[in-house]
């Protein structure tokens, strides 16, 4: 066999190897793209759940939009998901709902303005009640100025 014929015999083998390599590279790239897409979409789903959990279902009693089975809550979840996919931030989405429903749509009051009262008031009541109780106890335990023992 001549060298030329030998090369002709070897080339199909080499070509097959190249095709195999190309297929592997394409498959790997597609897999990586699909995995990263799936990762991104699950990240968006997690974010959507977080936003929905922070918003109250407007037609329910103390249920978040994430937990409520009401159709309105389902629409809220869908809108949150759509908005996140459009690139809106969780804060922007929350403020859209606050603009329509007021701050009462938030599961926890905002830590600004009058919202601080919800956090500060219970603490203030406990401190004042504790201090007053302690002062009262101290005074009641103190012997009276005009007690028989005092007069002796």
């Amino acid at each position: 066999m001549t060298a030329q014929a030998d090369r002709a015999v070897r080339r199909p083998g080499r070509d097959a190897l190249l095709v195999l390599l190309a297929v592997a590279v394409i498959a790997g790239t597609l897999l990586a793209v699909s995995m990263s897409g799936r990762g991104q979409s699950s990240q968006v789903a997690v974010q959507a759940h977080e936003v929905a959990s922070s918003l109250r279902c407007p037609v329910c009693q103390d249920l978040s939009a994430a937990d409520s089975p009401a159709p309105m809550a389902a629409q809220m979840r869908q809108q949150i998901l759509d908005d996140l996919r459009r690139g809106r931030s969780p804060e922007q989405i929350r403020s859209t709902f606050v603009n329509a429903y007021g701050a009462s749509v938030l599961m926890t009051p905002p830590r600004r303005g009058i919202g601080w009262a919800a956090y500060a008031l219970p603490l203030l009541i406990v401190v004042v009640a504790g201090a007053t109780g302690a002062a009262l106890l101290r005074r009641l335990r103190r012997p009276s100025d005009l007690s028989p023992a005092g007069r002796l």
Partner: protein, 182 residues
């Protein structure tokens, strides 16, 4: 009673009064329905929309600028919506020629049921369908029926939770017209 004991009793009295004040404030706040009734949209620009018509062409709010818009959210499964429809239709017929548009927004409904509702009650004003409830959410809807009155500049003047009556609606429309004339 010694002065120290008197002070203690006075202090106790202050604490009791304080607790009573807090309880009174809390119960007043809890029994007040206005937190839900008052829409943050009142006095602000009404959210724009463009929705498919159920009994006519699509309607967008921006195309109605310059007119008073009575935006009524309803559903065929809502009994109170049935009650208020004659008032809305009468308003449309009474004010339709004086720059007032009544727009019904069908909310969370089946198309066939909504069509049947329109035919049954002979509704003549334009009715649109909020298929994905985006408009309802933009208006802070908590249920049906709910009605928003929007002035000619596109600002929300009023919101009514529950069925409207013709006289009450006429008063609200006049207020919106006066705002528009200013």
């Amino acid at each position: 009673m010694t002065s120290s004991r008197r002070r203690s009793v006075a202090l106790l009295g202050v604490v009791v009064v304080g607790v009573l004040v807090v309880v009174a404030l809390l119960s007043a706040a809890l029994s007040r329905p206005s937190a839900e009734a008052a829409s943050p949209l009142v006095g602000r620009q009404a959210p724009d929309f463009r929705l498919e018509g159920l009994n006519g062409p699509p309607v967008s709010l921006s195309s109605l600028r310059g007119q008073v818009v009575v935006l009524n959210f309803w559903a065929s499964w809502c009994a109170e919506c049935r009650v208020e429809q004659p008032a809305l239709d009468a308003t449309w017929k009474r004010f339709g020629d004086s720059g007032v548009v009544v727009v019904g927004v069908d909310f969370q409904d089946q198309s066939e049921d909504a069509q049947q509702f329109l035919a049954e009650l002979g509704i003549s004003y334009p009715v649109v369908r909020d298929a994905d409830s985006r408009t309802a959410l933009a208006y802070g809807l908590r249920g049906v029926p709910e009605t928003f009155v929007i002035d000619p500049a596109g600002q929300v003047v009023d919101r009514v939770i529950g069925p409207v009556d013709a006289d009450g609606l006429a008063t609200r429309i006049r207020t919106a017209q006066e705002r528009g004339a200013r």
